[in-house]
């Protein structure tokens, strides 16, 4: 009998090999490799300066890596090397197939236009032109992220931090992306607001079958959202595996230190 005949017939969505990001002589992250499958949530954890954000910036094509490859399975099934694509094709991918949720909603929203326009804009970027349909989608998404529909014409600058973050999520998901990057999506929010947002993200990811890469320093957030974890320190991945295994039976000294440093309530 074959040893491991389980579900690996499905190809990965994203394949990362030997990814290195450098800022001059300083290394952001070194030799990172992993695969991400459809519907899978990968958590990247580590403290400030561990290279999480460098990795995320390279993965989401914001900065070009010094070495390594990022391959992505396009909707037609072909595997494309991210940095072999033209700049235009890469931008198209970011606008349609991918979403990026920033820690600070101000980096992901336009604060001077209405909530509805923030959501509608992404749709228009992929060619939607019918005003009624765009507004309908925007209303629908405000509902999904639990923002009152009568706030559609308000500017996000009048929203609370938690509402802004939910609006940013709606803006990203309205184009029906297959891969979403999230950078500390609950950072800077009150704990009660965090719980609501986490629950929302959890539900949306499961319902839509999204793949997601979530960067966080909060191990409780990672446990709640991620199927698998990568632990980073000093730009390198020191440990990776099944989320509860990494957190409950950490092998690397640094992971053990992180886990044992959590304050018990």
């Amino acid at each position: 009998m074959s040893a491991l005949p389980l579900l690996d017939e499905e190809p990965p969505l994203l394949v990362v090999e030997g990814l290195t990001v450098a800022y001059g002589a300083r290394v952001g992250c070194r030799d990172v490799g992993f695969e991400l499958w459809p519907g899978e949530v990968l958590g990247i954890v580590g403290e400030s300066g561990s290279g999480k954000t460098s990795l995320l910036n390279a993965l989401s094509a914001k900065i070009e890596p010094a070495a390594g490859r990022i391959r992505y399975r396009l909707r037609d099934g072909t595997m494309a090397d991210l940095f072999d694509l033209s700049e235009a094709a890469r931008r198209q991918l970011l606008r349609t197939d991918w979403g990026v949720v920033h820690q600070n909603p101000r980096d992901g929203l336009r604060l001077t236009v209405s909530a509805g326009a923030n959501v509608g804009e992404r749709l228009m970027a992929i060619g939607a032109r019918h005003y009624g349909e765009i507004r309908g989608s925007a209303l629908d998404w405000l509902g999904k992220v639990e923002i009152d529909r009568d706030r559609i014409d308000d500017r996000p600058s009048s929203f609370s931090g938690g509402m802004q973050q939910r609006l940013q999520i709606a803006r990203n998901l309205v184009t029906n992306p297959r891969l979403v990057f999230m950078d500390e999506p609950t950072g800077g929010l009150d704990v009660s607001v965090q719980a609501r947002l986490l629950d929302l993200i959890r539900g949306l990811v499961a319902d839509l079958g999204l793949s997601a890469i979530i960067v966080t320093h909060d191990l409780a957030v990672a446990r709640l959202l991620a199927h698998r974890l990568m632990v980073m320190r000093g730009g390198e991945v020191v440990e990776s595996g099944l989320t509860d295994q990494v957190l409950d039976d950490p092998q690397h000294p640094y992971t053990q230190l992180l886990v044992s440093s959590i304050l018990q309530v």
């Binding site: 009998m1 074959s2 040893a3 491991l4 005949p5 389980l6 579900l7 690996d8 499958w37 899978e40 719980a195 609501r196 986490l198 629950d199 959890r202 709640l224 199927h227 698998r228 595996g241 099944l242 509860d244 295994q245 409950d248 039976d249 092998q251 690397h252 000294p253 053990q256 230190l257 044992s260």
Partner: protein, 231 residues
Amino acid sequence: MEPLLDIRGLAKSFTLHNQGGVTLPVLAAVDLSVRAGECVALHGRSGTGKSTLLRTLYGNYRVGSGELWVRHGAARIDLAQASPRQIIELRRSTIGYVSQFLRVIPRVAALDIVAEPMRARGLGAEAALERAAALLTRLNVPERLWHLAPATFSGGEQQRINIARGFAVEYPILLLDEPTASLDGDNRTSVIGLIDEVLARGTAIVGIFHDGEVRERVASRLYDMTEAKAA
């Protein structure tokens, strides 16, 4: 009949890198096979590694060395070699685990917590909620609690949510960590009834039962944890 669970020479130790690199050997050599319809009770005082063994069988702890073969449909998978995705798939369809404590998710209602594993296996929302309600009724969880998140429930209520969740899906292999620890007489009887039913259906159970009466009642045999130490 081939066992559903076949453990060969399983060893597990913990190395505490930040406490002088101390290594705690917990399991030295576990050999244990469990067949369909069998309930094996792990037997031994606290600190002998019962929970460690159970958690290792669920993939929550990494296998140190040895083999841990799990029958998964027509296939056999060695949990010691399985990838994270394979372990997730095993947990979705083959191995259930009732831990002692419910890990509460903010804002998720008791009924949805119980329905979740059924939904994950593709059961429709209505059917899943219906079965969840039936299980909670059977375990005497008052209906007024069903739509609340269990963070504020009593220990016994949380444990019954946990049990309902574990029995919601017909897992071929079920791991039970003290399923009756904080339950009173009637609820204990309900849990024994559930265990009897899944055993009759051919589920293989490995469990920790501190309650001697429950153990007597459900266990087909005991696995003496001192055997796990003998290398």
